[in-house]
Chain length 348, copies 2
Amino acid sequence: MKTYKLALIPGDGIGVDVTASAMQVVQAAASSLGFGINPQHFDWSCAHYLETGTMMPENGIETLRSFDAILLGAVGWPETVPDSVSLHGLLLPIRKAFTQYANIRPHRLLPGVEGPLKAEGFDILCIRENTEGEYSGAGGRVHQGTVNEVATETAIFTRTGVERILRFAFDQARLRRGHVTSVTKSNAQKYSMVFWDEITRLVAQDYPDVTVDMMHIDAMAARMVMAPESLDVVVASNLFGDILTDLGAAIQGGLGFAASANICPDRSSPSMFEPVHGSAPDIAGKGIANPIATIWSAAMMLDHLGEAEAAAAIMSAVEAATAKGIGTRPGRQTTDEITTAILAALEE
Amino acid sequence: MKTYKLALIPGDGIGVDVTASAMQVVQAAASSLGFGINPQHFDWSCAHYLETGTMMPENGIETLRSFDAILLGAVGWPETVPDSVSLHGLLLPIRKAFTQYANIRPHRLLPGVEGPLKAEGFDILCIRENTEGEYSGAGGRVHQGTVNEVATETAIFTRTGVERILRFAFDQARLRRGHVTSVTKSNAQKYSMVFWDEITRLVAQDYPDVTVDMMHIDAMAARMVMAPESLDVVVASNLFGDILTDLGAAIQGGLGFAASANICPDRSSPSMFEPVHGSAPDIAGKGIANPIATIWSAAMMLDHLGEAEAAAAIMSAVEAATAKGIGTRPGRQTTDEITTAILAALEE
Ligand SMILES: CC(C)[C@H](C(=O)O)[C@@H](O)C(=O)O
Ligand SMILES: CC(C)[C@H](C(=O)O)[C@@H](O)C(=O)O
């Protein structure tokens, strides 16, 4: 039996609940379709930090390297550990060390879910650059604490980095409706974003079958709300993708439904799958977190591993459940009740 | 009779139509309330650039300095002049040279206007930093054209720049519902945005009567769509404010309704008033542009000049018109018809 080695990092807060739920669904799909998932559990988290002084052990990245995939719940517990420590100590290093340069986030309304927009018929795949750009971590502060203080933050874009994410987006468009929207702000950021636009034009020449439009991030944010059905694949820098995918989460009914995959496309390192939401301290430990975003992320993981049938079965089960009002409204059912309903639908 | 000197820069495309409309409304309000507006017309635009090689004459800024205010239509005509030339040759230098550091943009639904959200009862005032930050224009490219190319774009924030925009926002909150939301991305941009957060905490101490929350731009974009009624004053950097105000324009029904004021708060230089929309080449010259965003901007101008009664009268007239379905849908009425209806409402 084909068996995949899975690194499971529940992390903080509701990360624990939602990964437990997703693992039940993944195991059920695996056993009914005849493959194995062999999870190894890592307790890396803010609690781990408070005990040991690090978010993950020094050889954490090396440890993860031998796995086929990583499923992550949520990282962060700002009350005890600043985000700048927790995120830069666990989530962000994994994305960078494993060259998971493509952060993929699908945005559509599951059946039965009410979104905040009047528009309903949209199906967007956001592709966010995940390793450089505005989150490069380069910058500094001078004259600190004085009236003359200046702080800088430098966005760094490489040709390799920009070209590979654009090619990835164009490849995805070929599997969908054949349209790419590339998002920049080249009318105000004339170095980085003009560079991105130039590479977009070059890459587009290799994909004559894909149509492309280029938009500024401000106009794009408006378009996502006013005409989401006009979008297919959207590709953007680390920051712009971050913003657009939270907006995407909003229009699909909230973070409870927003899945994501951090993909290393050449498969030289494991990819990581995680919900877009965070650890949600306000509802942590109450057993009411919505596991759907994580289950959807786990389906993307199975798809990436080559188990497309299992992935599709899970998504059908999720949709059968939401169509009946399961998991569609915060607090109506518990995490367990939602999981049970999805497991039942999976059996059918 | 008190008379104000107004610099009128229609600019490109529909900028010409919408400023002509707004001037009719402004003059009608002025004459009925007993003050004068003395406009001087400047044809600075992309057409001017094609004729003379510059967007405005070399002494353009000096010429504008003696005016009480500037009313601007739209700048840009990408088919003939790149945005990087037109915007950096006219719009952006005015904002910076006159220290118009506070870009104010109100977002609410006018009566009769259908927005894309189910939510209707919101009233947000976005305050965008307008002179520095991510649009500082600092950056560069090395190894240009080669596979090793790297492009950088440096956001530059000064203590003066950040503190003054935050104080401005807190002052505005005192005139409204007493709440400020400050938007950063301090979990991923640890120099510039941590700096902004620190100054927010300091400034907040001087305003014990104002409540404040601090959010990341990604969560904020989602909140603007999911719970816009929870927001009062929103303050953000140049880029984040740019994005949020286009999103604000979207939720208020579109760019046809989005007004803005570029304010120099100490009044050492003239302030500039302009719609958020651009020159709209697709509908330019057709006489169907919606002038409401510009009329609203002109009302903000009169308010800034101390003519609050005239400003309120114009906004009442606009609302009376939209409540009857005038100007609420693209293309239903011409620019002239909308203007005539608002003038009629103003007379009543
Ligand atoms: C937690 C944060 C650093 C992270 C990001 O901005 O990448 C999150 O917002 C996300 O979208 O995955
Ligand atoms: C035209 C462009 C440079 C401008 C900006 O980004 O400032 C516009 O989008 C705006 O919002 O006023």
